[in-house]
């Protein structure tokens, strides 16, 4: 058994062999924005979840117009293969990939194992920031089939259709509002969306090197909790970054046809007046 869409995953060796390929752009996207400046894969560029990819005023990610500007500045054309990697088992790399897909960039990959694996293999990291000839990138219409808004989530919950809560068990139970040992802020209520099953994101990756688990292990994990390919699935976490990883796993590694990421996640739901919550 192999992953259903293995073409969305590349290994570190593959990236190492394609560092100078003009048709490929390697993008680092981290939780910690200082990691790229202190050392990154030669030729890689940075997108920062916060300062590059978020809307400067509204709670939203950047507009299509702004996305075109970012992609153009990074020298990406509509044909470029974009490879994402990052820290924390590729959380923010998956978020960036999800956003690229939202604006219609199909040619995307995740580097299996992310920054951790690259470092463990003692592969080169450089401080020199690469820049590329500016392009004229054209975004497509947003792909709403991969993004869930609060109204979609309420319908999904009311219909008892599959919702996956990928946060830590204590966030799911409502004991904590944020990740263990992170500041407990961002939501006024704890708990989970009614009907959501708890499948923490970390169960999809190998702790030692941040690579994804085998197709068999992943299938057993999600199907074992009743999350199957026959229905539309919505994944959420606290701000939509950990659930991007689960979204990637379900959509590409397991090939579920209809998977959405709810990027409003708990920081929206846990503050939303009148929203149903289970503990």
């Amino acid at each position: 058994m192999s992953y259903v869409h293995p073409e969305y995953l590349v290994e570190t060796e593959w990236v190492a062999a394609h560092l100078n390929d003009p048709n490929i752009r390697i993008i680092e996207s981290d939780e910690d924005p200082l990691l790229y400046p202190i050392g990154h894969i030669p030729g890689a560029v940075q997108v920062d979840w916060f300062s590059t990819l978020q809307h400067p005023l509204r709670r939203d990610f950047l507009t299509g117009e702004k996305f075109e500007e970012v992609a153009s500045d990074l020298g990406i054309t509509n044909e470029t293969t974009v490879v994402f990697y990052g820290d924390k088992s590729n959380w923010f790399a998956c978020y960036a990939l999800w956003l690229f897909q939202y604006y219609g960039h199909q040619n995307v990959r995740i580097m299996n194992g992310g920054r951790l694996k690259w470092e463990k293999e003692n592969r080169p990291l450089v401080r020199e920031v690469s820049s590329y000839q500016k392009t004229t990138y054209r975004a497509k219409d947003p792909d709403q089939s991969i993004r869930a808004f609060r109204g979609d989530v309420l319908k999904q919950s009311n219909a008892r259709k599959p919702l996956v809560d990928v946060r830590s068990p204590k966030e799911y139970s409502g004991e904590l509002i944020s990740m263990p040992n992170y500041p407990q802020e961002g939501a006024t209520r704890g708990g989970h969306i009614p009907g959501a099953v708890s499948i923490p994101w970390a169960q999809a990756v190998n702790e030692a090197d941040s690579t994804f688990k085998t197709p068999e292990e992943l299938r057993a994990l999600y199907e074992g909790k009743g999350i199957k390919p026959d229905k539309e699935v919505i994944a959420y976490c606290r701000i939509g970054e950990r659930s991007s990883l689960t979204w990637f796993v379900l959509k590409y590694l397991l090939g579920y046809p209809k998977v959405k990421n709810y990027d409003g996640s708990w920081t929206e739901w846990g503050n939303l007046v009148d929203a149903p919550i289970e503990k």
Binding site: D32, L35, P37, I38, L116, M179
Partner: protein
């Protein structure tokens, strides 16, 4: 009821100096300076390593921050951190707090307002969640200062 310790209205001079430095920086300078702080965070002294190894293992997905406090003969506190190189932002923020507060009296540490860093404009480079981590580290240092005051009497 009398307050248990006097209120000091100004920041310790070294911390004030750091805040003022940051206030005038561009985003690029801010990032470079945070990296410099991150890299200058001294390694944990050998005498504290055994103590760290006795502490609890780190739960899933947090940045492990170990904080140690030692009292000097004049009552001032010295802070030592152990934070992995994979978390340079947290290292940088902890390093700022250590540089700005090491040697300060517990009363001075307790008087640092939780929003003292607002003029540093960190929010232009790092997300609110990181900044919240900064507040968290300061809160830990204040707990250590409270303990030091309790032990004084």
């Amino acid at each position: 009821m009398p307050r248990p310790y006097p209120i000091i209205m100004s920041l310790p001079p070294k911390l004030q100096e750091i805040v003022d430095d940051f206030a005038g920086m561009s985003r690029e300078e801010l990032i470079e300076t945070l990296i410099a702080y991150s890299e200058s965070l001294p390694p944990l002294p050998d005498r504290l390593k055994a103590e760290r190894d006795r502490m609890d293992p780190v739960p899933e997905c947090m940045t492990p921050v170990f904080l140690f406090t030692e009292k000097q003969s004049d009552g001032g506190l010295m802070f030592y951190f152990d934070i992995p190189p994979q978390s340079p932002t947290v290292r940088g923020l902890a390093s700022i707090l250590a540089s700005g507060l090491n040697g300060s009296q517990p009363e001075e540490i307790l008087s640092v307002p939780a929003d003292f860093f607002l003029p540093m404009k960190l929010q232009e480079a790092i997300s609110q969640q990181r900044i919240n981590g900064f507040i968290g580290v300061l809160a830990h240092m204040k707990q250590a200062a409270v303990k030091a005051l309790e032990n004084r009497t």
